[in-house]
Symmetry: C3
Subunit: 392 residues, 3 copies
């Protein structure tokens, strides 16, 4: 790779840049875009004090990444389309203001407003006690800052921008995970790939939990918006979700006090192992898609939270290694991969945003093609294998 | 208002000033004072690292406000009179060093040393579980930083300095409050007005809790100092307070190990709705008064903590929307106002400091005038309506 | 003392230096070394953001102290010998990223990687509830930053470098401790003395807990390394430690999943009150020694944690006022000194590092001399007086 590398943060080397930018110049051209940029700054004031934001713009799509919050993606934009949702938590929250123990272990919700955040790594799902450990909602990784952040400009082909962040989730007498995340935007493209490598740096084999909480609001989510994902099975998480199983693919208007619904899917993939989940607006001329490797991410959850706008009207498209159940339940059902010392678990996903009818139809056609002739098995009640509420 | 506005912090606009000052100049004169100033700095080191202090001096009275700690007032001064108390927590504490979950939910006490701090907004009072929520002592608002801070210099009339701070207390799947606090010092005056607007930004009606924990030490508090507040009822919070009901208006000398006493008052007001609580020193030549609107703040608590000097010899004059009981108790007794989506609850209070016998007498006379011919009903035991310790 | 004093931090005076150095110059010479230095910097990025590191080098030995973490010693070096261990927590962790309530009160382990850190002051040992207080592992002091830091260069004699840090552990309605720690390195020497004064600033007598968690890894710890400490009694902490009592003086190779073993000693001292604990490598040509005053520090614990390298292969030599048991147990057995208001508890210890066979033998000889003719009483089972697991 013909590339220029810029180190934004390297704790060990004493490197950290609060603010800066990388712009096209004589020596650094991408054939796919003349308007690309990488800009970073550090927010000041309020609960955002000290949060670094790195905005990568490939000339067509831009994404704002938060190294301070586990390399989550705060929000983005494709042309005029905002890639975001309106959380009641309006601004990025520095982890110092997030007490995971608050709200009976739900303190994670004090900082939740990203387009993409990771749940894991030692645990995710609801809080509780498992094997003598006190688990908090969705784990620690989204509230841990990267100790190494690097931007690489790949000038080969049409060119690409890569952001590589390294985040450690560790403790004495606890699992010791290292997340190395690579986000890649091809110049001028409408897709973004994310490749994560989660390495067990510890001396003992450990169970891994990981889910990508990808959260999308308007203009993709709106009344009569729909989602689709090729799958073998789909099951409601609980009785509440079961109420909506018949119309689960369709989204409703915002309703104050709407109680969230979650649907668990066993996704299907094409011959290369890629599956595709699509969220399309009601006019079918704008869609947000998540492509993911089903061997790496065999559990797919859709979170429907069509609550009042001011309370966070949003849906989650969530590929995961596991379902977001309590860890003990996932263990029981064999969905916690064991990673040996020194070994890694790799995941690959691609975010794609389209803004034409043709492109939306193409995505839906792809879902249908992967689905093939066999309809998914739609479980009308929670299934014991997938969720604790299941009885059989 | 003929005014100059200075933005000190605006997270969304990328504005934050670590240190600076606003001083009188040709273009900015207040007829009521030639010596006024606004100075701000950011503390460095210890648990104060990152705490911003804004000192407003109107030429006669100065107050140091802490945007980093929910716009609380750290301390002040009127001429030679210090407006403060000596907490065992000596310096302002950055919220990153306050774990509200510490000490069984009493972690708030790790950062408590202000002249004025707010308790609330989703809850206040003692910790415990209410409606599935895990409440911690006195809520979150005092440990949340303002994301917007503005100074306005009002050059009309004799002139005034205003400090406006905006603090959000929010969470996903939780109440979503915004406090907009305006502190106003008239040039050359001995009073400070505080006008707070608490807005429900969420999509559902929510219960509001709010108390102003106004804490005063020497030279106002001393042996034989007294307090007065016009009221219909006064009741001890618990058996401990009942022990002191006969002499509750009088303060004792510091006593090591003194167990705090709290008295709940139903305050009376003048025809404009204003009540007045006064703390006068033993010589009756210095007093600290709190004026407040009883329709907005119908519950008034006096906290007597005449413990050893080194443990925090202090009294609290505490106007509130509610009494500082456990939230479920306040709900049961109808003291939790419901604020609808988009609506606000407004509170007004005025701090007044006087340093002459005449002025102290005037304050006491005002209390008597409001009290009128009817003596307050003094409950010798806790009352069921006001505190959980009450039996009838 | 002919000295130059440099204030690095003084919150009250508005002084804080992020980065700097003190080097020998015409006016500042130490006859014992021409190569000494004091350098400080503030780490940026990851969980180390904002952690200050002060590296003191006396020309022979260097130590990196962390004012942000209670004046703990991160690591050091004597010539080529690293003084450190490899914790799974790789870098210094800012207290804002350590939630002591995490992991059921074991959150302290999220930040544990120092060569020397203090446990205490209001409590230490395992988490739990004692007298209505919610104790967390090893207390607060290691995660509290110093509000005053001063370097003194003593040019008398051969010269010395002193680092003085002041850390407050306080809360409203809680104990109020001030640690004043003085670390002194004689120029060109292989020893470092630490003198701590812990003062009760509060108005009531309080129980003090304090243990020096001194943690050493390779090259001192290795298979067949040994430790020695003159003692009257030695007892295993629990059944697990009892399994290794026969060979407790000898260290094993790293073993994945090795469950830690702790041994409690009642140390003996020379006629000046000094005891000496030694950790020597297998070749007996390198040793790490801790000298301590047994009247001040009458409880000595050895922590054997010969777990896999990647999980933190380490041993602790831990002089303490108490054993690291739950506080209620230490109280019951009279090991919690009561410090009256305004009074202090002083502790003195000396770290010594040697790198020759002769010097190692000399240390071992010293241990033997102090031990004298009477062998220690080796308890093969936990003893009721020393640990909760004891039955008699």
């Amino acid at each position: 790779m013909a590339a220029a590398a810029f180190i934004l943060t390297d704790v060990d080397a004493g490197v950290h840049s609060d603010r800066g930018e990388i712009l096209p110049n004589q020596a650094l051209r991408l054939s796919g875009s003349s308007q690309w940029s990488v800009r970073w700054k550090t927010l000041r004031g309020g609960v955002s004090e000290g949060v670094q934001v790195i905005e990568i713009d490939n000339g067509r799509m831009s994404l704002s990444v938060l190294p301070t919050r586990g390399m989550g993606i705060w929000k983005g934009r494709l042309g005029d389309l905002p890639l975001e949702w309106k959380s009641p938590v309006e601004r990025p929250v520095h982890p110092a203001f997030v007490n995971l123990q608050d709200r009976g272990g739900l303190g994670w919700l004090h900082g939740f407003n990203e387009l993409l955040c990771r749940c894991g790594l030692a645990f995710m799902g609801p809080p509780g006690e498992d094997q003598g450990e006190n688990l908090t909602l969705h784990g620690r990784i989204a509230n841990l800052p990267a100790h190494r952040v690097e931007v690489q400009i790949d000038t080969t082909g049409s060119g690409a921008i890569e952001l590589i962040g390294v985040v450690d989730e560790c403790s004495m007498f606890g699992p010791r995970w290292r997340l190395t995340s690579t986000l890649r935007l091809q110049a001028g493209s409408n897709v973004c790939s994310i490749t994560d490598e989660v390495t067990n740096l510890g001396g003992q084999a450990s169970e891994l939990s990981l889910l990508y909480h990808i959260n999308v609001g308007r203009p993709f989510l709106e009344p009569c918006a729909t989602y689709a994902v090729p799958c073998r099975d789909i099951a409601p998480r609980d009785a509440r979700a079961a109420q909506g199983i018949d119309a689960c693919y369709v989204y409703g208007a915002p309703i104050a006090g709407f109680a969230e619904q979650a649907y668990y899917h066993v996704p299907l993939a094409d011959s290369d192992g890629w599956s595709t989940a699509v969220l399309a607006n009601s006019s079918n001329n704008a869609a947000f898609a998540v492509h993911f490797q089903t061997r790496q991410l065999p559990a797919f959850t859709v979170w429907k939270n069509t609550i009042a706008e001011d309370d966070g009207y949003v849906t989650g498209l969530e590929p995961g290694i596991n379902f977001p159940n309590f860890r003990a339940f996932e263990r029981k059902h064999g969905r916690l991969p064991i990673v040996k010392p020194g070994k890694s678990y790799k995941t690959e996903l691609v975010l794609e945003v389209v803004d034409t009818e043709v492109a939306v139809r193409k995505l839906y056609d792809r879902v249908k093609a992967i689905q093939g002739p066999n309809e998914p098995i739609v479980h009308r009640e929670p299934v014991a294998k997938y969720s604790p509420a299941g009885t059989k």
